[in-house]
């Protein structure tokens, strides 16, 4: 799986990494139990400091997306249902997106179609290697 970072983006590099790895897990490009590259290796591949990769991994670990195995490094974790915290955060994000959509004259049907397309874009990648 290829990761792309943009040092000009307002989003910190570690957050970009975190987001792309979440997308990779959801899309099936990273499978449960699969080991991620070591922090030093990924840092070298991306041309960034390994501490930055480590911060991304730590965030992913704290959110339950990966586990740190003492022998294998970072490993994609088993999927578990989200707790109240997760649903609350998800609700805030989507509610805000919905509000932005409403402000841009997007109707309910249009918004739902948009969400459905986004969901397909994530989940439909399963099995694909691109």
């Amino acid at each position: 799986m290829i990761l792309q970072i943009d040092t000009q983006d307002a989003l910190p590099i570690y957050a970009q990494l975190r987001d792309q790895i979440v997308l990779g897990i959801a899309g099936g490009r990273l499978e449960q139990g699969e080991a991620l590259p070591s922090v030093r290796r990924l840092g070298a591949d991306l041309g960034i400091n390994f501490h930055t990769v480590s911060k991304a991994y730590t965030a992913l670990h704290d959110e339950g997306y990966i586990v740190m195995d003492r022998r294998r490094g970072a490993v994609v974790a088993r999927r578990t249902a989200g707790g109240a915290d997760f649903l609350s955060k998800l609700g805030r994000n989507i509610t805000l997106s919905a509000a932005e959509a409403v402000c841009h004259n997007m109707g309910g049907d249009e918004f739902m179609a948009f969400c459905a397309e986004c969901y397909r874009n994530v989940n439909g990648e399963k099995g694909d290697s691109s």
Copy 2:
């Protein structure tokens, strides 16, 4: 309309203000043409620096949610369809949320129901002016 800020939130105060004003516009609590409080007034009301309010207003202006009127200050803008930039940003946000949902074993139906509820929470707050 009452704004609530939390100085302990990870989200910067100016972003909290920006988000709540967007939610207010979408929910109809702030109507098109309505003037927002002056940055000094709102800052004093919320107990924060007016520079912070100014930063929020600038962000809202840059995104087209408000216009700056020389005499009336910040005024809620007319709604316009979002451009490619807006759709791109919206797509990134919702796709990421969808990926997080997938990683937490949320199925497509469940995710769509969740999105629909979020949309209703935003839009249902309007009396029936839509």
Copy 3:
């Protein structure tokens, strides 16, 4: 409140700081709502890097002992009852200590007296400034 660190200790410096601040909060030397020194200030006072202090503060924040206020820096948080995670961790720690005590011929009464003394040492400091 004076903090002491020992760079020869096996326990990492940031963990020593974390522990001493927890002791300070429990003993009343740090009161709810009180602001901690800035990471740079405390680092300079202790002769250590501010990143190390930052790591201690981050750990304390993640455990709910302090909150990061955008305007005041690190602030001692309101006390809340511990969740299942906390009780589980506490149980593991004390059970292990009890096992070590048993292995050293410490009887139940002796162990309980020892725990009571430790508790008094923590809580009895309230009001004292030493």
Copy 4:
């Protein structure tokens, strides 16, 4: 006696082994004079490197929980009263736990009841040999 290790735990594997063996001795599952498995045997059984087991045994030896017999390997040692070092370490651990309990609104009675339960969990596992 069955040992369980978790390679994803924050605690190093050798420390997990050390802790579980201490719990086993305190609980009577390992009796004085009983021989522990060889480092290679236990390593193979647990699927870990024998150097890791060796490190755990070394720690247990240094703390006086086991003795090294040239012919029988590691043997559970006779129980002896703890010295000043042991009491100091025990005091630090329990005092810190007490402080964490205080910070989570656990009162003295509640803390003592919790400690008593932990002690029973350890010692009650013995048949009735105490």
